[in-house]
Subunit: 321 residues, 2 copies
Amino acid sequence: MNLPKYKDVVKAHERIKPYIHKTPVLTSKSINEITGCEIFFKCENFQKVGAFKFRGACNAVFSPRLKELEQGVSAHSSGNHAAALALAARMRGVPAYIVMPENAPEIKINAVRGYGGKITFCKPTNKARESELEKVNKKTGAQEIHPYNNFNVIAGQGTCAKELMDEVSSLDSIITPLGGGGLLSGTCLAAHGLNPEIKIYGVEPKGAADACLSLKTGKIEPSLNPVTIADGLLTSLGTLTFPIIQSHITEILTVNENTIIEAMFLIWERMKIVIEPSAAVTLAAIIENNELFKNQRVGIILTGGNISISQASSYIKKEPG
Amino acid sequence: MNLPKYKDVVKAHERIKPYIHKTPVLTSKSINEITGCEIFFKCENFQKVGAFKFRGACNAVFSPRLKELEQGVSAHSSGNHAAALALAARMRGVPAYIVMPENAPEIKINAVRGYGGKITFCKPTNKARESELEKVNKKTGAQEIHPYNNFNVIAGQGTCAKELMDEVSSLDSIITPLGGGGLLSGTCLAAHGLNPEIKIYGVEPKGAADACLSLKTGKIEPSLNPVTIADGLLTSLGTLTFPIIQSHITEILTVNENTIIEAMFLIWERMKIVIEPSAAVTLAAIIENNELFKNQRVGIILTGGNISISQASSYIKKEPG
């Protein structure tokens, strides 16, 4: 199998630099005091489309020759990958066909439309999404860009950890959320490419802990009926992401829903930035595993900020204290 | 009367630079599209203590010789000035005595305590605050630092507009919130010092429009029973801030509560940053006075981000749409 390597992350970075934001790295004295470690937050909530997903989509859309993409690109996604792919395609000047479940939130539908994506709606089942996407691909000749199980997407997501480590020296650990593993596998390549000693952690919600199980059983376990507010972390690992993660990861940590909410609002209130629940699992993991990170310099990727205020406020009652 | 001038802002900036954050200037394509102008947001929500108030407090605390301040500094305040003064005093190594109403929110009491401020509680009336502060000053020999009607505070607040205009060229207009006028008067000095042609706007809630009235009558009008969620903008103008504003201001704009909430959440959702209601009046003014700013390059000072998530969520039901 042709897996991406560190040099592919470096190439991806050169390729997408003109299109992405170099997002800031923020720190918070008060969160450092609370957690007992020194945290460097890479703020991909400030990335274009409000999420790191733009990096991978951008690399996938700008890698092939233009001729190969004339018929456009496609994906099924109701989340940040859909908007990211639509914007990247618009920048390259090719059409983007997005298959979305008919019950997708209006805010996400509008985002994809706003970036010029052509939407086909389908029933909200895996089967319907896949068969609808196949139909779209056949009809248009579009090239499918999988949200994470794609060589160029993985290399693109790796640019985020690379930027963080280029800017902040001597990190002991780096932590990312873990859903399909696109970001984590890219982070593995970048982080160990730059520093073979760094510890790499992936975090998933206890209610969607398929990757933790996969590492134990040694094969990709399906994500069965996941239940979590971290709606970006519902999917199972892919055939490309799994082996990379397997050979690099220090540990997969799992976190509770209450801690995700606590961490999310801690970041909102102390750092004055808006992040989505999926992004908060990383700080949640530090809160729940205090001793593991004590006195370390820890890099965290805050993956995105796409949450409506009314959605966020629906979690308030669950906030501890 | 000895009023501060542009050169005092320049001096203040040199003085406080080692202590303050040089806050970022952010832009938002989607908010530009919505408003039809090009907005540059100076993000003082990322300033120390989460508000621009730290600039003025810092300048006031670092201006006198240390000997003059040995007995400490004092203020009555339940808001951002209290925390700002406590932190500035701690940095200089002198005590800060803060008189706070006994019903002040716990989050603000904890902030002041966290910065080492010594709190005296009083009944929540103007009279009680003033007499309590007088007692504290007599007992301790502390020097009172008024939150806005103070030469050095005004000069310090002006550094914010100076930084913005040093970074962003050719602004047509600059807009700040308006409460006691410390920020606006400092902004007047900085902005016209750097560009005599720039238009300067102050914004207050319709429910606390005493400054607008003061400009009309030509004398400082009291702020009688102000009603607004912008709790940083309740006070009336001071004898130092009023004449500066009078001689520089283009216009005072007043805005509705609904628009303040709309503007606040627009910034949260599109820019992924947390701001407090008082900071949102500026964008609210652009939304309500669309034609006035059409196609302009507009600088806005986002004054602070100190709001609890539960407070913010209590405004959701009032959110339009």
